[in-house]
């Protein structure tokens, strides 16, 4: 097999991504799969910078101590399991019935062991009940447990005005009823709430058509189809696009809905390393050379599944290079923009807009309305032939109830706000405010010395905590201080990488962010989680927090270089 450095040959030269400086003055007709006219006409704003995503390594003792902590937890888990099975302790977990004790054991694998012994102890950090709209401040109901997290009860007390750093409210559109929602009220009066039918039977409303046309205009594609549930959009529509004899190349950190859809389709699935274009190219070459597994025939279709922003790492997909690869090897690209639609890109149009690519570069656009649009549901967008095919063949359209008209109107209202109709520049301002907030927050966290993953423009900021007890202590302490974050542990991330995930919204003000940062700073010292491997020489000068310096790209790059030292 030719080595990958040698792959810089023939059509479409693919440079080493780290040193890729796009040279637009090439005399070649096609360079990197992007036609020359497109290169000259369009000035991609962010295409000149290589994607800078670092995954800083903590000092080695941190990983050793993390595994040691898990080891101690496991030992105590064995002890408790022993006590439970010998009747010395009441067993609250699920067990088989007496008659089934001789069958194949149901609850002895690692996942159930972990859930019984490790997850149960820290379970109170999750599944909170909220009782207000998920705006920048919201209310959480208090829950206590009398028997170490096996059962909970609500005391009736409510924590009011908790700062919300956990909801995916990127553009701040999830608010109580206000005058922009008048159309939603009218729709409720005219249509009611329930649809009571599927798209294929009696469930297609004129509201759906209006939303689909408006959304196609927003995304700059030919056609769009709307579904009632975002998870079902992925899991029910990937099986109709690919089948047996096709190849799916999916990123290793893809969402469960994508993985489920890929498995249901029956195609061959090969995962590639996260956001790693070399790994993807190697897989593509090997697969095309070897063909289908047993017969060696050519693949019927090759589909690359990626997400716009990954929700656990906060990284943005390396779209220009993946598009170049797909053009070179004649594959199809399916882009899941669940988190990135509305939150990145100068016109809020997602990662394609962020990188300045042509709308035809991505074959299938998918996204959800749950995050930036403050509604629910999903869409599939692309060329008209594709969407017509999806309309006829989708399982979701045949069997699942279509979107409620009230929700469709809420999405139309959000869309009109974002697109800036009726004169106001609402969307642009919101996304600019969001970008400012993101820059400021990431900057300050990096200076404090936390290890943060993710791209500089992504609104999801995971702070790495590594040890399981620190993960739970972080969540509890912050809730006591009236800040709500989502902390993530083992099954959703790898074993040693527990993290706390901050989601920035454009509705957050500078004061709110400062308040959160102060508490996080103190908490970082208390828990000793400031693992960034650089020598801190006191605090940086306050001049860095000047408003102007954040709008100036050049100075941000200088500040970005600083933690490398």
């Amino acid at each position: 097999m030719a080595n990958l450095r040698g792959s810089v040959v023939t059509n479409g030269t693919l440079h080493n991504p780290k040193t890729q400086q796009h040279k637009w003055q090439s005399t070649d007709c096609v360079k990197n799969g992007i036609p020359k006219e497109a290169q000259q006409n369009r000035k991609p704003p962010f295409c000149d910078k290589p994607i800078f995503e670092s995954y800083p390594e903590p000092p080695l003792y941190v990983l050793v101590l993390t595994y040691m902590g898990y080891g101690i937890g496991t030992l105590f888990g064995y002890l408790r399991d022993f006590m439970r099975s010998w009747g010395m302790e009441k067993c609250n977990a699920a067990v088989e019935r007496e008659e089934q004790k001789d069958f194949v054991p149901l609850y002895q694998d690692f996942e159930n062991f972990y859930k019984r012994n490790l997850y149960m102890r820290i379970r109170d950090s999750w599944n909170h009940t909220i009782c207000s709209p998920p705006g920048p401040y919201f209310d959480i109901m208090e829950k206590v447990s009398d028997d170490y997290n096996w059962t909970f009860r609500h005391t009736g007390r409510v924590f009011k005005d908790v700062v919300n750093m956990g909801s995916y409210n990127y553009l701040g559109l999830a608010v109580k009823y206000d005058e922009s929602m008048n159309t939603v009220k009218d729709t409720l009066e005219k249509y009611g709430v329930g649809v009571t039918s599927t798209r294929h039977e009696m469930g297609t409303l004129d509201k759906h058509k209006e939303l689909e046309d408006l959304f196609a205009k927003f995304l700059n594609v030919e056609a769009v189809m709307i579904f009632g549930m975002g998870f079902a959009t992925n899991s029910m529509n990937i099986p109709i696009l690919v089948g047996k004899g096709c190849l799916i190349l999916s990123d290793e950190f893809n969402h469960t809905s994508i993985i489920l859809g890929a498995r249901l389709s029956g195609a061959t699935i090969r995962p590639f390393k996260h956001n790693n274009v070399q790994s993807l190219e190697k897989l593509l070459r090997e697969s095309i050379i070897n063909g289908q597994p047993r017969t060696g025939r050519a693949w019927k279709k090759i589909l690359i599944l990626v997400e716009g922003i990954y929700s656990m790492e906060g990284s943005i997909v390396n779209l220009p290079q993946i598009v170049a690869l797909k053009k070179k090897y004649k594959a199809y690209l399916y882009l899941d923009e669940a988190h990135s639609i509305g939150a990145v890109g100068p016109n809020c149009q997602g990662v394609r807009d962020f990188f300045g690519l042509a709308p035809e570069d991505v074959d299938v656009y998918m996204g959800t309305f749950t995050k930036s649009f403050a509604a629910s549901g999903g869409y599939i967008a692309g060329k008209k032939e594709l969407v017509d095919y999806v309309r006829i063949h989708s399982h979701s359209a045949t069997y699942a109830t279509s979107m409620s008209p009230v929700i469709a109107e809420q999405i139309i209202r959000s869309l009109k706000l974002i697109m800036g109709e009726n004169g106001n520049l609402g969307g642009r301002q919101r996304v600019q405010q969001l970008t400012k907030n993101i820059k400021y927050f990431r900057q300050r966290l990096k200076e404090m010395g936390f290890i943060i993953y993710g791209d500089d423009y992504s609104p999801i900021i995971p702070v790495l905590l590594y040890m399981p007890a620190k993960v739970s202590a972080f969540g509890r302490y912050l809730l006591k201080k009236k800040i709500a974050v989502v902390v993530v542990g083992f099954p959703a991330t790898s074993l040693a990488e527990g993290r706390a995930r901050f989601c920035i919204s454009s509705a957050h003000t500078r004061e709110m962010l400062d308040e959160v940062l102060e508490v996080v700073d103190k908490l970082g010292d208390l828990l000793n989680v400031k693992y960034f491997p650089f020598k801190k020489s006191g605090h940086s000068a306050p001049a860095l927090y000047n408003e102007k310096s954040f709008d100036n790209e050049a100075s941000f790059d200088e500040m970005n270089v600083q933690p490398e030292a």
Binding site: G69, I72, G73, F76, Y148, A469, S472, A473, L527, N528
Partner: protein
């Protein structure tokens, strides 16, 4: 005030120990059990070191000095 900051520092160290070894999420009787076992092991290590290390060092010193002494007596 120095005493207070020293006490706070030790409280912080104890909290770090609890967090790192997952004692913070264990039930109180499990914590006491873990602390007892750990202290017992540490006490045994300290006792063994106190009793045996001086003797081993003395024996090792005699062994090496005999070799060097033998070597010097042969060479001279």
């Amino acid at each position: 005030m120095d005493l207070k900051s020293v006490k706070e520092y030790f409280a912080w160290l104890y909290y770090q120990y609890q967090i790192i070894s997952c004692c913070a999420v264990l039930e109180p009787w499990e914590q006491s059990m873990f602390n007892t076992i750990l202290l017992t092991i540490v006490a045994m290590v300290v006792y063994t070191a106190y009793v045996f290390i001086p003797i081993h060092i003395r024996l090792a010193w005699e062994f090496f000095s005999k070799i060097c002494g033998y070597h010097s007596s042969v060479s001279s």
